[in-house]
């Protein structure tokens, strides 16, 4: 059986503004272990995802056992251990969107970019995700491109938008 190598990531620098923000939040929550999820939200907001060194940092600062942190992070959909990509396309697969053809959009994206939900392109430019329901059922099928909700989405348009974003290289 292959042994997983323990990857020793670079220690976080305390001068990193993102780390500072995280520290402020941890202090504000008084190092209380029950605020773990709030703190993870803060960390993910500033880092974009939850890299292992950030989790180690939180574990050390809050004195919460590693297993507890890892089990919490992997329980919730919202937290990601991997980078989601610079640009993200989130396709809602809630019931209303499903009934109105969300799967077709996902299929088309997979055809065009060879990405399945949860995957990111090799250059980390673009990632595809699904959500269980973003609560925009009246506008089904809904797609969230970066932070913008696109109502009544059509596969063709989505592909165009994605291409223009990746191409723009912003």
């Amino acid at each position: 059986m292959k042994k997983k190598k323990l990857i020793l990531e670079a220690e976080l620098s305390k001068t990193d503004p993102r780390v500072k923000m995280l520290m402020v939040k941890i202090k504000k929550e008084n190092y209380r272990p029950d605020a773990l999820i709030e703190i993870l939200h803060t960390a993910q907001n500033s880092f974009g995802y939850l890299p292992m060194n950030v989790l180690r940092f939180i574990s050390k600062e809050m004195k919460v056992p590693p297993s507890r942190i890892y089990s919490t992070v992997t329980f919730y959909h919202f937290f990601s251990l991997k980078s989601k990509g610079e640009h993200t396309c989130l396709v809602c697969t809630g019931t209303a969107c499903y009934v109105k053809g969300a799967q077709n959009i996902l299929d088309e994206i997979e055809k065009e970019f060879s990405l399945k939900p949860g995957q990111v392109t090799a250059d980390n430019k673009f990632g595809v995700q699904t959500a269980r329901c973003i609560g925009a059922c009246g506008l089904a099928p809904a797609v969230v491109m970066d932070d913008e909700v696109l109502a009544k989405a059509k596969a063709e348009d989505i592909k165009k938008i994605i291409n223009s974003r990746i191409g723009a290289g912003v």
Binding site: R32, L36, H41, F78, T95, R132, I134, C137, G138, L139
Partner: protein
Amino acid sequence: MNRQELRTIADQAKTKQAQYKHKVCVCCGAGCISSGSQAVLEKLQEEIKTRGMENEIEVVPSGCMGPCNQGPLVKIQPDQTIYQRVTCENIAQVVQSQLIEKRPIEELLLFADSRPKPFVNAMEDPFYKKQLKIVLENCGDINPEVIEDYIVCDGYKALDKALFQMSPEEVIAEIKQSRLRGRGGAGFPTGIKWETVHKYVADQKYVICNGDEGDPGAFMDRSVLEGNPHRVLEGMAIAGYAVGASKGYAYIRGEYPLAIKRFELAIKQARKLGILGVNILGSPFSFDVEVRIGAGAFVCGEETALVASIEGKRGTPRPRPPFPAESGLWNKPTLINNVETLASIAPIINRGGQWYGEIGTPKSAGTKVLALAGKIKYSGLIEVPMGMTLREIVFDIGGGVPDGKEFKAAQTGGPSGGCIPKEHLDVKVDYESLVSLGSIMGSGGLIIMDETSNMVDVARFFMEFCMDESCGKCVPCRVGTKMLYDLLCKVCNGQGTRKDLDMLEELAIYVKEASLCGLGMSAPNPLVSTLRYFKSEYEQQITKNAAVQGGTHG
């Protein structure tokens, strides 16, 4: 601030509003924002300013107005005219024609493209006429980000009444008399829940607002939190007073950033006015609320899992008893109510439990907010009295199925609910009637399916959802839902056998009865209800297979 000052604020705000000739609300619910209402709002403000009409016309970004599919929506008060699909280009025309010349723009009116004669007063349109708005009464008419707007509409009056004219026992009696039932899905009588928490003696109790609206196809709580957060806050404070809690948590889905933002703003504003905090409105009662952001786990809608999540752990449920009312958050007595339940509290206190109890059916009192979506002409958010028939909701309010297709089934209650076929279109939408058909009221999602929907596939879709969302703690749900999903896939792929159908039925009952929490107990519902009403579709899938059986392996 004391109660006198609160009244002064209300009076001042009222006087200020009276000077305006018109109030123009631009819907800034999440639906309309994604249709571009933010730009419309800015354009409108600019237009009013350039015309120098700021003292005549009040422009308000409001919460959800209902027909999300037609957005962005703009509502003109007091005429009650709603314009649909308003763009920045239309704004000048709207101001000129409607506000100055008092001439409604026919082609922009709500449902202008689908009704032979659209209504100038939108409230006369069947979409609105059949509704009864209690929870949503101010939603779409006030600016959810301005506390004064809420106070003008008798906001926090119920809290004032409860704190100064009623004992906690009287508040509970009023709620009991209203026969309000939990709107989160199970329909447990709210008054009895409050009474239970009230009777436990503890140094600390908690009130939790459950805004973890996880059902795919449901956006009622989201709209309430976004459109009228103060109403929920008021409900929480009254609940806190009644049960003796000084601390509240609002657990809101991380997927609803706007709702979180507005609710946090509402808390801040209320604290500033002394409506939250120590000695509320000068009374001895103290209460404060904190927001907890959900991180994406459907099972956290289950109250014991919700508690675990607020404690910062994996959101796994635990067996009940003990119920949270006895031992909840940090093992203290905890009241957990859904957003919509809490939003129903203030009107009940203001207008009396008897008034509320007379709405709806004998067993299910009051109104229910429903989210209409799927294959339906007018999708969106509606509120109807309990006991309205499904037919009225789908055809009179929702306008029926579009594109000349035929209605096939309505799915209620999300992944915990079932499918109601067209034979039962005349079912009354209330807790008991839906249960008798093998579905549940749930949180209020109503997804309409037309003849093109494959019901076996629908069952598979929901089973996949439950399998993914199973926390993995108990065996029936963890392994059972996976087995059911695999079997359903097999049937969908045309490889199922009669034996598989029998196994589906056997396992479904087992998962339903042996699972630990509500997720597992209700996970088989969509499967069971489709098996009940659409068994022929399952059988078709199997007979298709009978012809090829024996040769497909390898």
